[in-house]
């Protein structure tokens, strides 16, 4: 059996009275795009900062390709590339100077810097000062920083944060290309649709706890999830409960989640509910929404 590329074992972190991570154990398979999913404050960034060595005191173990670590060592950190939260630069320097600063820490040559800038489509702006870059360009330069030393695994903390739709598409394309080249990529996000389209696996974190790990394979994508908003959601559940391939979950007085493999789900819902209830909306959702129904 192949060891997971990255394995968190009972990782815990407390900030004074706040438990940021509570015995989190997650396996990230090799050559996966692994989504770390959770609402703001769920502990995603804390987990990534621990991995990056930015948080010093924590409990638990981390293993990389089967090797155990209980503290951050130079050996393992070189296998990983990090983009933690918004990318940060010396804005008064050019992109190439920014990358040179990092390359001196890992003894890399200028050829690798040029290659990296080409991967993220910034070669033509390499000599411009970073302060003249758009947000999307900065995000791509952040990815270049992360890729510079050619790590086996990329740890990206909300890489699409703040990007416009075309920026998101471009970033997703780059991530998919890297995945095709054999990199393992761990992406944190709170946007469910990003996970659906980009990731092969996802782990859900909530209030510092690991709720589930899901394989986003063909079977997962056979399911479709709808959010129904109606006048009386409890009554809707009664009506729809006769359909065995509808998995129903009440969210609140006015909304419920319907998970199904039925191709005609919307038609059925409208037909059956509209006879006795007022439907405000039916919207297609990520299958992962069940973890965020509160």
């Amino acid at each position: 059996m192949i060891a997971p590329a990255l394995c968190f074992q009972n990782v815990s972190k407390r900030f004074q009275n706040i438990i940021a991570l509570d015995q989190v154990s997650i396996d990230v398979p090799s050559n996966s795009i692994f989504g770390l999913l959770g609402p703001n404050g769920s502990g995603k960034s804390t987990l990534m900062r621990i991995l990056a060595g930015l948080i010093k005191s924590w409990d638990g173990k981390i293993s990389i390709s089967g090797e155990n670590y209980s503290s951050i060592t130079e050996g393992y950190i070189n296998k990983l590339g990090f983009l933690i939260e918004a990318p940060s630069f010396y804005e008064y320097l050019s992109a190439i100077e920014n990358l040179k600063i990092l390359s001196r820490l890992t003894n890399l040559n200028n050829i690798r810097i040029k290659e990296t800038l080409e991967i993220v489509n910034l070669a033509d702006r390499a000599n411009d000062k970073v302060k003249t870059y758009s947000y999307g360009m900065k995000q791509r330069l952040g990815l270049a920083q992360c890729l510079l030393h050619n790590p086996d695994m990329l740890i990206l903390d909300e890489p699409n944060n703040g990007l416009d739709p075309s920026g998101i598409r471009e970033m997703s394309k780059i991530i998919n290309n890297l995945h095709e080249k054999g990199k393992t990529i761990c992406v944190s996000t709170h946007i469910l649709s990003e996970v659906d389209t980009l990731c092969t696996h996802a782990a859900v974190l909530k209030k510092g706890k690991h709720l589930a790990t899901i394989k986003l394979d063909d079977d997962y994508h056979l399911d479709t999830t709808y959010l129904l908003n109606a006048e009386n959601a409890a009554n809707c559940i009664k009506i729809l409960s006769v359909y065995k391939d509808f998995n129903l979950k009440l969210v609140d007085n006015n909304s419920l989640i319907i998970k199904t493999r039925s191709q005609d789900a919307v038609k059925i819902i409208r037909q059956k509910i509209s006879k006795t209830e007022v439907i405000h909306s039916i919207s297609k959702q990520s299958n992962l929404i069940e973890f965020f129904d509160d």
Partner: protein, 279 residues
Amino acid sequence: MIKNLLINEIIKVSYKKRTYISFALITILIPFIVLAVKNGGGSLESKLYGQLADSFIFVGSLVNGNLSAYIIIAILISHMPFLSTIVASEIVSGEYSKGTFRMYLTRPVSRNLVLLSKLIIVLGYTTLMMFYFVMYTLIVSRLIIGNGDLVVFHEGLLVLDAYDTVWRFLLSFWLSNILMLTVTCLCFMISTLSKNSVTPIIVTISIVFVGTAVAFIPIEFFELLNPYLFTGYIDLFLTAFHDPLPKHLFLQEAVVCGTWSSIFIFTSFYYFNRCDILD
């Protein structure tokens, strides 16, 4: 690795405009003050040595480049701590606040080495600035007013030959630099503890201000305390122009400033190695 880290720090510091503020101020201000000394030489001479004119006959002028440099350094030395904090205040806190540590410290490099490279840079900067301040003042003063014997007050009137002054100015540079390096270490420590670059300047200058007050207010308790404070040596550079040189005071300054600097440096490294980078 330390060589590469130092190159990185030199690049970062050299691209920032604030790095040049102290050198620019010194370069612009000193010639103006020297010109003022030259033009007001007569009245300055009468104020300095007026009472002595009853007892001595002075031939020629006592105001020359050496005296001008001596007076300018004595007046401006109390402001140099402010200039010595310009780079040190931001060198660590600036990386916290701009988030660049998130990228820099996720590389295979130890935090100790990163901090050491920064410390070397700020100490080098302060030394360079103090050397420039003293030597530039001396050179500009000599160029504008001319060379001559330096007359200072020490156990009466002490006349130092012109050729006997350059090494004394170099010694005064080193004596004042020891103190400035301690101030820099203090500012560096606060920069390591703080997440913005204004706090280190304010705290450092406040401490120097209070310490200087302790040094100059003639209260018995303060006089007892003063030898153990690094700020108590702010005017020690004047003793470089004494004869004989008070070597025990030089040693005392080295021990006191060295102790304080070590405390500041140790605290910086201790904290930096344990702190979480959350910004």
